[in-house]
């Protein structure tokens, strides 16, 4: 697999070697239950306390505001369901966007069945929400605004700080799904006025099955996983000590390296975008050209279908994606691409290249060599292409 070119870092990232090294003691000798009183348990407790401090520091939060979860999806579910059930006497209206991840959208669909009302803010052709739309959507019954920090498919970065400010003015809780933004955008939850933030470790070279939810001090939301007194009594379950330790170091590393990463990946990204636009006709860059994640490249190529494209790239040992990972295998075109106004047939033909710190210019050059050939080959096969 040495010659694999991995361009799907928005789906998941390799676990960093040094992060795994930090986890290893807790996967071997230091197996104690962190709630236990004896030495080997206290050692796990200490590791978790330190990890929580580390995470808090990276986000500009207090340690007491960080809760470990099993991933981005659990964090999103907890934030939304926990807040809405705690505040349902205050109102039943939630504002979100049309381009959220399914962990948000499907959670809200479930709440709609229970009588909550949801406003899905539209986005423009670049995937940006409008702050005016947000203002206009607010009602007396609005209890939650949840807007993703950056979109997982098209990479557009939303105006979170402004949105959070509006929420604060109106006394509405503000949550952001920052799963894709972590390590790519500088985030300080206190300064930005964010009430809740979700993150997922495997998106920044941490372990799979680990996430965190930041909950601002004083904000009361209902528990989601009830049971033991772990996580200050707010999230039950024996602590995944190696996972927690891994998440914390991966986050530290990715926030410390953010300037360098943004600089490197932005250059690679813009180089690739420019070349693709130059060499492949009938293509469209999806997402905002500058307000976009440094690692995200998303194109639609007319007349061809995304999965075929991915398979052909795979045969050249290039791993990329079309839409989000968890919808491949589905027949529906991406709701995000439809939301930015693409017709169905064009939405079906999209390609997402998501770069990670480990990617190189040489790898981009391989892509730039193979991609035009593959697109052309598929177009020759397409009944829609008259070229």
């Amino acid at each position: 697999m040495n010659d694999l070119i991995y361009f799907d870092n928005a789906a998941t990232t390799p676990l960093a070697k040094d992060v795994l090294d930090k986890m290893m003691p807790y996967l071997t000798d230091n197996y104690g239950n962190a709630s236990s009183i004896y030495e080997i348990g206290r050692r796990s407790r200490a590791a978790i306390d330190e990890a929580r401090d580390r995470v808090a520091k990276c986000l500009g939060a207090d340690a007491s505001e960080i809760y470990f979860t099993s991933g981005g999806s659990e964090s999103d579910n907890w934030a939304i369901k926990g807040l809405c059930s705690a505040k349902k006497s205050k109102g039943n209206h939630i504002i979100t966007t049309a381009i959220e991840h399914h962990a948000i959208l499907h959670t809200l669909k479930a709440l709609e069945k229970e009588g909550f009302e949801v406003t899905y803010l539209p986005v423009d052709e670049d995937g940006l929400i409008s702050i005016d739309d947000l203002k206009n959507a607010i009602k007396d019954t609005t209890i939650l605004i949840t807007i993703m920090f950056a979109n997982n498919e098209i990479g557009t970065i939303e105006p979170i700080e402004e949105a959070a400010k509006i929420a604060k003015e109106k006394g509405i809780t503000f949550h952001t799904d920052a799963v894709q933004a972590i390590g790519a955008v500088k985030i300080n939850v206190h300064e930005m006025g964010i009430d809740m933030l979700s993150l997922s470790a495997h998106k920044f070279n941490g372990p799979k099955g680990m996430g965190a939810l930041y909950i601002r001090k004083g904000l009361r939301i209902n528990n989601f996983i009830n049971g033991g007194a772990q996580e200050s009594g707010r999230r039950a379950g024996t602590e995944n000590t190696p996972g927690i330790v891994g998440l914390s170091y991966a986050l530290e590393k990715s926030t410390a390296g953010i300037d360098e990463k943004v600089k490197k990946l932005t250059a690679l990204r813009d180089y690739a975008i420019e070349e693709i636009e130059k060499t492949i006709p009938y293509c469209r860059l999806n997402g905002h050209r500058t307000k976009r994640l440094c690692g995200n490249i998303n194109f639609s190529f007319r007349f061809i279908e995304g999965e075929s494209l991915l398979l052909m790239l795979d045969m050249k040992h290039i791993a990329a994606s079309s839409g989000s990972a968890c919808t491949s295998g589905s027949l529906d075109p991406s709701h995000v691409l439809l939301a930015i106004g693409l017709p169905h047939e064009i939405a079906h033909g999209s390609l997402r290249i998501s770069l990670g710190v480990q990617n190189t210019k040489e790898e981009i050059d391989v892509l730039l060599k193979e991609l035009p050939k593959i697109v052309d080959r598929l177009r020759q096969m397409s009944p829609l292409y008259e070229g």
């Binding site: 061809i304 398979l311 491949s328 075109p333 169905h344 020759q380 096969m381 397409s382 009944p383 829609l384």
Partner: protein, 148 residues
């Protein structure tokens, strides 16, 4: 979701891509909205499919089923070709993932549509039975789904 070796083979080296030049039987099914379009063209002589080619806009399974279906009907009589079921196409490909079953249905339909077109062109008063009767659940959720 995993494709068999056969599917990957027919996807990466599809047989019979293109359009038959002096075709007398052309059918197209699926629509771009659903993400799958198959167009099949044939040259039918003396009730025998002398030549057959396809063009497909669709996923790996759509390409592979098109390729396999054309292989399976090439040189066959029109009546034999009409007996080709989506199941036979799937079996010849060593199976398809459940979400991709509808692609094999499309292939069956495309053959049928081409032959219908041949009947119509030739003034033969026969109706090819529609292959898809909502058999697979894959398309169930799509209100906008219909076979052209």
């Amino acid at each position: 979701m995993m494709y068999s070796e056969k599917v990957l083979d027919h996807f990466s080296n599809p047989r019979n891509v293109g359009e038959v030049e002096n075709a007398n039987a052309v059918g197209q099914v699926g629509n771009a909205k659903c993400g799958d379009i198959m167009k099949i063209s044939m040259r039918i002589e003396d009730n025998i499919i002398k030549d057959v080619k396809f063009k497909t806009f669709g996923c790996g399974a759509a390409v592979a089923t098109s390729s396999m279906a054309t292989e399976l009907v090439k040189g066959k009589s029109v009546d034999d070709a009409l007996k080709l079921t989506n199941k036979a196409v799937m079996e010849a490909l060593d199976g398809l993932p459940p979400v991709k079953v509808h692609c094999s249905v499309l292939a069956e339909e495309a053959i049928g549509a081409a032959i219908q077109n041949y009947y119509d062109n030739a003034g033969i008063d026969k109706k090819v039975k529609k292959g898809c009767d909502g058999c697979c659940s894959s398309c169930g959720g799509h209100d906008e789904h219909h076979h052209e």
